[in-house]
């Protein structure tokens, strides 16, 4: 790989400050690709990927690199193959230079739940880079890589992207193969992109998407879905879209319930609402039509989301039993035990962190005999209701019904990047604050976060949610915004990857 002169020192200086990587190499091999496996790549996309370094969240497999998932239990695990998404990027000439920090198994909103390190925000080192893809977001925001892969189960790409002032795409569920991802909540999570510009975000998504026989939930884009790249010869067709806005009055019913049980954690701070309002005004000035909309049932979204996520986590993480994964490599060898249960118990006791244990406990509880109807089944019904409510506005995934709006504009997180002081936002408050992000996961819809403005030296992100497989529409709208209001960069940022 040919790196620009001075880049390695630049990257090392940033990394010493922000702790974005669990593993980092500047010798990722010679320039490659595109190879035959990369399929038909749009020429514009190839230009933004080929020969550029990238980073991969450490719960996505990259052959010959460790895959810790931010957990002591997998500290020494090296996957014998690459995930579909990383293999596709490498085939297109992308070069993985490192694995990025995350909350253990993706469970958290700050990377504070990583067993190894806490990632700092390049805009202000006393603040969180967000999570769980905090390492990927910080690495892109600092200019160490132009883009990175992440995963999003309830906001884990969009929230750190918003905290760090970059673009973050959570694709439609099924648009991108999950083969090679460490499963946390299989029905909610998807791999996605964090990037320095909308153009690059679109390019990377165009490469990683597509049906994969190794992931039964992946599928091809419906024929009626809008194209990923604008068809018009003169470029972007993003102008003149109809955008629904989840404004303060529309959110009030959801916040009223949340405020009782979650200490106002989901109520947006004034700066975030100002950022949303500014985005609204600017989008209107760019020729889009903005209308207020309501989504019924939002008040139940976060409880339903955590019920389902924890239930799936309890099931998925059962594989970490010290035999199949997390064997006796960590913590010394177990010399002799009375039975196999000791191996399982000891591995999980010492290998898993408190937040992961809490979520496994919750998941095991809601799936217990006698409780399923009250929790898990009810959550799945609420999920179906929320999906239907979003489809009423955005149209269905099969493109049979007319849509009322092309996209929905909403906040990403109720606060800007919080300080790393534990009192800043308690673990419970961080969960309740997932209100704005978890809806896209419950409904399986794409959502794109991008920086709307900077308030008090900290970026404010907003997100656009779209119809299933309409990522192209979201990119088109965000690109009209970015063209007029280029994304901000933190002090000390240098652009190496234009």
């Amino acid at each position: 790989m040919i790196l620009p002169e001075g880049f390695i020192q630049y990257a090392q200086e940033w990394e010493a400050k922000i702790n974005a990587f669990i593993e980092l190499h500047f010798d990722a091999g010679g320039e490659r690709g595109p190879t035959a496996q990369c399929g038909n790549i749009h020429p514009k996309a190839l230009k933004l990927i080929r020969g550029f370094p990238c980073a991969v969240k450490d719960n996505i497999a990259v052959q010959n690199m460790r895959m810790t998932c931010g957990s002591k239990l997998l500290e020494q695990f090296r996957p014998p193959y690459s995930a579909a998404v990383t293999a596709k990027l490498e085939a297109a000439g992308g070069m993985v230079i490192g694995k990025t920090n995350l909350d253990e198994f993706g469970m958290g909103s700050s990377t504070a739940n990583s067993a190894f390190k806490i990632t700092r925000n390049p805009w202000d080192l006393s603040r969180s880079a967000g999570g769980s893809s905090g390492g990927s977001a910080a690495a892109v925001a600092a200019g160490i890589v132009p883009y990175a892969l992440g995963t999003d189960t309830g906001g884990s790409i969009r929230q750190p992207a918003a905290f760090c002032g970059i673009a973050g795409l959570k694709p439609t569920y099924g648009a991108v193969s999950r083969f090679g991802l460490a499963a946390y909540a299989s029905s909610l999570e998807t791999a996605g992109v964090l990037a320095d510009t909308i153009d690059r975000c679109r390019a990377v998504f165009s490469v990683i998407r597509g049906r994969d026989p190794r992931d039964q939930t992946s599928r091809d884009v419906p024929a009626a879905a809008p194209p990923l790249y604008p068809m018009a010869a003169d470029g972007n067709t993003g102008a003149g879209k109809k955008i629904g806005v989840l404004s303060a009055p529309a959110l009030a019913p959801a916040l009223a319930v949340n405020s009782i049980s979650a200490n106002n954690a989901a109520v947006p701070e004034a700066e975030v609402m100002r950022g949303l309002q500014l985005a609204r005004e600017r989008l209107a000035a760019l020729g889009h039509t903005l209308v207020d909309i309501e989504i019924p049932g939002l008040r139940y979204a976060v409880p339903a989301y955590y019920t389902i996520a924890c239930a799936e986590a309890a099931s998925n993480l059962a594989r970490y039993d010290g035999v199949r994964y997390g064997g006796n490599r960590y913590g010394g060898r177990i010399e002799a035990v009375e039975n196999v249960h000791t191996i399982v118990d000891e591995t999980r006791r010492a290998g898993l962190g408190p937040e992961v244990k809490l979520r496994i406990l919750l998941g095991a509880f809601v799936l217990r005999s006698g409780f399923q109807e009250r929790y898990y089944l009810r959550a799945q019904k609420i999920r179906a209701g929320i999906r239907a409510a979003f489809e009423t506005v955005l149209g269905d995934s099969e493109y049979r019904r007319q849509a009322q709006c092309d996209a929905i504009l909403m906040p990403v997180f109720p606060v800007r990047a919080f300080t790393m002081d534990q009192a800043a936002l308690s673990p419970f408050a961080q969960k309740a604050a997932d209100l704005y992000t978890c809806c896209a996961n419950l409904a399986g819809l794409p959502a794109l976060a991008f920086p709307a403005s900077v308030e008090g030296g900290i970026p404010i992100g907003v997100q656009l949610m779209g119809r299933a497989f309409a990522e192209g529409t979201l990119f088109d709208i965000a690109e009209t915004y970015e063209r007029q209001f280029p994304f901000p960069r933190p002090r000390g940022y240098q652009s190496w990857w234009s």
Binding site: P303, I360, L361, K381, F428, A432
Partner: protein
């Protein structure tokens, strides 16, 4: 919710947690359960749980998820790659701890 219930849940989840750990986890656990309780107010009458759409049911009835085929790995013998993951090994065998004390 009390410690006995939590202890039993931990056992079912294969989490070996001592009394101190359980006691520390209890408040966060109870807080989340009371958060979940909000779902009781939701009117879900007549709604099918998500994932049980007519489409998935008919696909299951048809007896196939999909007709894709996965080609077998051809590039290399993957056995060695997988064996390399073993904590301890003897040749092509993975060694595991004795499950019985030697005195038995």
């Amino acid at each position: 919710m009390d410690l006995t219930e939590l202890r039993e849940t931990a056992r079912l989840a294969r989490l070996s947690m001592d009394e101190d750990e359980l006691r520390m986890a209890l408040p966060a656990f109870e807080q989340m359960l009371s958060f979940f309780a909000v779902m009781r107010e939701a009117d879900v009458f007549g709604i099918l749980p998500d994932g049980e759409t007519a489409e998935t049911r008919s696909s299951l009835r048809a007896g196939c998820f999909r007709t894709d085929t996965v080609s077998a790995p051809t590039e290399q013998d993957t056995a060695e790659t997988f064996l390399a993951q073993a904590g301890e090994r003897a040749d092509r065998f993975i060694t595991v701890p004795n499950v019985l004390p030697e005195s038995v």
